[in-house]
């Protein structure tokens, strides 16, 4: 048991992202309301973004802003700085996520105009008539 707890604590960022991802996944698959599905999709994406961001952190690392004169004089040790690349990648991923959400929301507006509801059951009922 102690070993199991130690395992969870040592890699807690992974556990958080897995739990968040499963919550999002459940909402996407299990919920019948289309807006809830969309929110689940957002949670799913956010989980992955958090996962990426957490991988850039180093123990004892500082923000990756380098003093130019110090770097020219003696070079720098990369181990002292957090890795900024995952953060930059996630900026792009956030932009992608926002665009997908935007498209999905506008599609939802059209669904509402077409069927008058956003409940999947009711839409399917209307379609089967």
């Amino acid at each position: 048991m102690a070993a199991f707890v130690a395992e969870i604590v040592a890699k807690y960022n992974y556990w958080i992202y897995v739990v968040l991802m499963m919550i999002g996944f459940y909402a996407m698959i299990g919920k019948r309301n289309l807006v809830k599905k969309l929110l689940g999709m957002n949670i799913f994406q956010t989980a992955i973004i958090l996962f990426f961001v957490s991988t850039g952190v180093k123990k004892g690392g500082s923000i990756p802003i380098v003093d130019k004169y110090q770097a020219l004089a003696g070079g720098i040790d990369a181990a002292n700085f957090d890795n900024p690349l995952p953060h930059v990648l996630m900026l792009t991923a956030i932009v992608v996520g926002v665009s997908v959400t935007g498209v999905a929301l506008s599609v939802l507006i059209r669904i509402h105009k077409e069927f008058g509801t956003l409940e999947e059951d009711e839409i399917l009922e209307k379609l089967s008539k």
Binding site: L34, M41, I48, A93, V96, V103, A104, I111
Partner: protein, 496 residues
């Protein structure tokens, strides 16, 4: 315009023209056709020149913004990607002729929006083909997907609901891919494909590597509608506007299969992917089931376009199976089938577009006696059907031949049997339609609203690309030999 970055123009020209179409096309509709056709023709011309150069002088590598490869984004054009660029340009150009006509009819007043998305989608597909950066690939995958969501949602009635389902499934796929890339980045510290391929085998971290591969492959399988993950495809593709279907159906799944080939060959190296026999066997069985179920579900459809979407699912099974055979014949067949299947699907979807333009429906009932009304269209349909079945000398025969040879080489009999069964089902599927269309009588008591027997052929704008595609099916069939020797054999890794 320097000739060294000609391949960049292949994707930049449609992208910039998309903006021009959106700006000027709204007020002046007559500008849309010349802009779209001009940019796509220019793109095709560049792609052909680039392919010639790659075949003569070897692979081109281009660094965007002059950042050196492991850090900056690299674009690589090797023989396979050059071939794919030509293929995408050809399909996009031919489909655009037909789309210009059908969009005018189906979405009056919204042509500018439609073709903005259309051109961005084409640019995104070209980007997917040339990129050599794992994260860049994710962004481009989402560009193509988002434009497709928009195009599908432009359809009538149920299309918006199908588009929403596609958004959810597509996002799950893209997120899985991104997660796999994250694992790779943690393992190797790089995103450049060649760099990953260099570092990954030296790491000796089998579990993490396998997890990363699994995430990336599942993500791509969702995007390409591999059998158990295919549920979004039939509705989305059959309810999209006809013009969108003609572009999306031949290209999206096939380009994703190309990405899978690229990821397996150039990022992970086959040695790391095909490590566990039970995984390979499992995928082979899934491919076999995909082929049989896709074909069987196609049998149950009452609408030609819906039937074709199920055939697409079966064809994805062909290609995934061919790659996972992990031998030279199987891989040759799979890559050849990417080219052939794009052209065959394009041919059949152009037929669908032409029929819908004339009579508004492609339900099997409405196809009765259509040979008399649209003889040229239906002649092309027959040729496309023969290619799908795999009748020599159409191109479909050759790729199927290689796939079957590969299946025998690898001892995967379930795959061979699935291929043969699916060919037989295709025979039933298509001959049923050809019979209806040729012999279907209109005087059997049932009054039909399209009952006239006078000739009413599709407009020239839709017939020309259709005839060219039908001819291409045979031309590509006859040039299978050169295609394999000059392009495909070059990228098959040693030891296969």
């Amino acid at each position: 315009m320097s000739p060294t970055n000609l391949h960049l123009f292949v994707l930049v020209v449609p992208l910039l023209t998309a903006l021009a179409v959106n700006l000027f096309g709204r007020s002046r509709r007559q500008l849309i056709a010349p802009l779209v056709l001009g940019s796509l023709s220019f793109s095709l011309l560049c792609a052909i020149v680039v392919m010639g150069r790659v075949l003569n002088h070897g692979t081109i590598s281009y660094t965007v913004g002059n950042w050196r490869p492991p850090y900056g984004i690299e674009l690589v054009v090797d023989p396979l990607s050059a071939m794919m660029m030509v293929l995408v340009s050809v399909v996009a150009l031919l489909a655009s002729f037909s789309a210009l006509k059908s969009v005018e009819q189906e979405l009056p007043g919204r042509e500018a929006f439609f073709f903005t998305l259309y051109l961005i989608l084409v640019a995104g597909l070209h980007g997917l083909i040339v990129t050599a950066d794992a994260f860049n690939l994710y962004v481009l995958l989402e560009i193509t997907s988002i434009t497709t969501y928009g195009l599908v949602a432009m359809g009538r009635g149920r299309a918006v609901l199908s588009s929403f389902k596609y958004i959810i499934m597509g996002t799950i796929g893209a997120c899985f891919y991104l997660l796999g890339v994250g694992y790779i980045y943690i393992l190797t510290g790089t995103l450049n494909m060649a760099d990953i391929a260099r570092i990954l085998p030296t790491l000796n971290a089998p579990v993490a590597t396998t997890t990363a591969i699994a995430f990336v492959l599942v993500g791509l399988w969702i995007k390409m509608a591999f059998f158990p993950l295919h549920t979004w495809l039939p509705n989305a593709y059959s309810q999209a506007p006809t013009g969108a279907g003609t572009l999306v159906a031949p290209l999206m799944t096939k380009v994703t299969v190309y990405l899978m080939v690229r990821v397996i060959l150039n990022v992970y190296t086959p040695a790391l992917v095909f490590t566990h026999d039970w995984v390979t066997n499992g995928v082979m069985w899934a491919a076999a089931i995909a082929i049989v179920c896709g074909s069987a579900l196609a049998l149950g459809q009452k609408d030609l376009r819906r039937m074709l979407t199920y055939i697409i699912i079966a064809e994805v099974g062909y290609m995934v199976g061919g790659v996972f055979l992990a031998n030279s014949n199987g891989l040759t067949g799979a890559i050849l089938h990417i080219v052939n299947d794009s052209l065959m699907t394009l041919c059949l979807f152009l037929v669908v577009a032409a029929i819908i333009y004339r009579q508004g429906s492609v339900s099997l009932d409405s196809l009765q006696g259509i040979f008399r009304r649209m003889p040229i269209t239906m002649a092309a349909f027959t040729l496309g059907a023969f290619a799908m079945i795999g009748v020599p000398p159409t191109c479909g025969f050759f790729s199927k031949w290689y796939l079957i040879l590969g299946g025998i080489d690898g001892g995967h009999w379930e795959f061979v049997i699935a291929l043969v069964v699916s060919s037989l089902i295709n025979v039933i599927l298509f001959f049923r339609i050809i019979e209806l269309a040729y012999f279907g009588s209109l005087a059997d008591g049932e009054h039909h609203e399209h009952g006239s027997t006078e000739r009413h052929e599709a407009p020239w704008w839709m017939l020309k690309p259709l005839v060219i595609t039908a001819v291409l099916l045979i031309v590509v069939g006859f040039s299978t030999g050169p295609l394999i020797n000059n392009v495909i054999s070059l990228i098959i890794p040693a030891g296969f």
